[in-house]
Symmetry: C2
Subunit: 333 residues, 2 copies
DNA sequence: TTGAAAGCGCTAACAA
DNA sequence: TTGTTAGCGCTTTCAA
């Protein structure tokens, strides 16, 4: 059986194809009566517009593209959910391309994958939001894109930020109030803009509280295959050092879980001997023991906003979202 | 600047458009020399075939569709990765639609979302692989699909299975050998085919080892918002019961993490007082304390196979994958 | 408010 | 091995 086309509907409703097209595309210039007849014909025939034909004629794909890392992370999963919601709300479909976390090949994956789909917009999660080669390719293709938490050349295109510094400052203040004077920081990927940003905000806060740069030990642990494993290894680096910190702040919750695992292996009591805090408020944070102090950012909402920015005809340049310190047992003694 | 079209390439290479099309589509019936000239012209012009035009003319979308649950789960995340890999390897692009775990609305989301994209194939993860309304819609649209771990009407279309029963039997045997005689099972979603399958396999194994049905307490905990929270609650149901089990087997690792959390709250020693085992071998399994005994299934590989099945011209009816029992500290005393 | 005509850029089917 | 001719099903543009 042949698929129902727009022409079939037109014939049935006794109007031109163009008028049917107007109804389908919500063009206001159609009379009540005509619209009613056409809608009836659409319902009776079960007509579904052919997306490929629409794309070809209108030169738009109705597609939003994004990249997904090849490794589990609450942040990316949650962001992805927000993007899906945004697409659904705005009538787009979402195409995804996998990228490797190490040796990220954003540009290759775009070139050989997403590019062919001619997406109407692309959402760039970190660290891809700072991938110069990729940005250049997108610009040269004239593709619209939104960047999440970029660090470089921030005015280049629309971006979405969380106020990391505010959250980190609140955390440092809380830890200081708990009596901690010697801190450890477990960094995230260095190509992720939030990594130096959170580090610097933490150190600045410690200094403004009366401490010194030397009171903060920073660890940049190489990737070990999973966030928790990497975190465990970073915990070892800090806790086996000559002068171990009494409070450790990690780039995300998964790393914190790893740190807590190592602390347990050493027989340390959290929070008695060691305070641990993460970032993101993933559901894992509620299931460490004790529950993890963390900084919550509205990740899914940021994903939705990203799609809204792409859908909006006028270019929005920058959206800022606020974060919140969630204090739990892992830092409260 | 106008985009480069196939006709431009044809003009430049001094051949017909159809011949360029042949080169692009890897048709073998093109002479070495002609192919070389055309490839050169493609490279020089930077020609990119227009996917919408190809789709329209060839009546295929080059798209694989799938559904993603609105909740974190290692299984789904890993499966998704496998599907992405499969798509990339076979020249497809992946379109995703979000579905709610509770009040699953697979058919609505298909009808209002994916359907319009006319995917060349659809991968149905559980529990959607048993969604009768969705299957019917797909059949009536004539869309090819693969089902993962379906339970009902298994011969209806291509399916991919893991040998759950073998893994569960190995686990029951291991627990029995450790001296356990009284077991708890935390079920997964009841619309997920593997749920009754694993339960029944476990009970059958216990009976064949010399136990009885009454030795296995089964808990079907309602969804509490996250797998770990649900698991904690299920753990409470089992461990606060009049005759608590000494070994608990959960539908997946996240639920096991929840059970272990509750056991810790009770002051129980794992594995001394209580053995806990999960399913999937997620990376969380390595980061519970003690590390979690679990059953590994090749999830990502199953996702890749799913795409291969869709891409294959001849219909494959059934693929079986084997599972493996991974014994760790949570069940070894 | 509605319609007619001309493509959008590619591929299928056929012919040479 | 290569070329020609029709479309694929929709939207755009322009006219009525």
């Amino acid at each position: 059986m042949r698929a129902v086309t727009l022409a079939d509907v037109a014939a049935r409703a006794g109007v031109s194809g163009k008028t049917v097209s107007r109804v389908v595309n919500r063009d206001p210039n159609v009379s009540q009566e005509t619209r009613r007849r056409i809608e009836a014909a659409i319902a009776e025939t079960g007509f579904r517009p052919n997306t490929a034909a629409r794309s070809l004629a209108a030169a738009r794909s109705y597609l939003i593209g994004t990249f997904s890392p090849n490794t589990s992370s609450f942040y990316h999963a949650e962001l992805f959910r927000g993007i899906m919601r945004g697409c659904r709300a705005l009538g787009y479909h979402l195409v995804v391309e996998e990228v490797d976390v190490e040796g990220v090949s954003g540009i290759d994956r775009y070139d050989q994958g997403l590019r062919a789909m001619r997406c109407d917009g692309i959402v760039l999660p970190p660290p891809l939001s700072d991938d110069a080669a990729l940005l250049k390719a997108l610009d040269s293709d004239g593709v619209r894109y939104v960047r999440l938490a970029p660090a470089t050349d921030v005015a280049r295109a629309a971006s979405i930020f969380a106020d990391d510094a505010a959250g980190v400052t609140a955390l440092a203040t809380h830890l200081w109030a708990q009596g901690h004077r010697h801190f450890g920081i477990v960094l995230g990927p260095m190509d992720h803009a939030s990594t130096p940003l959170r580090r610097d905000a933490f150190i600045a806060a410690v200094i403004s509280l009366g401490g010194q740069t030397a009171d903060v030990q920073v660890v940049n642990e190489p990737w070990q295959g999973s966030l928790m494993i990497t975190g465990r290894s970073a915990g070892a680096t800090l806790l086996d050092s000559p002068r171990p910190p009494t409070a450790i702040f990690t780039f995300n919750d998964e790393l914190a879980v790893g740190v807590m695992t190592y602390a347990r292996e050493l027989g340390l009591d959290v929070p008695g001997d060691l305070a641990v805090a993460g970032f993101d408020d993933s559901d894992a944070a509620m299931f460490t023991w004790p529950p993890l102090t963390t900084i919550r950012q509205p990740i899914a909402v940021m994903g939705e906003r990203a799609v809204e920015v792409l859908a909006a005809p006028a270019a929005t340049s920058r959206i800022d979202c606020s974060v919140e310190l969630i204090v739990r047992g892992s830092t409260q003694r």
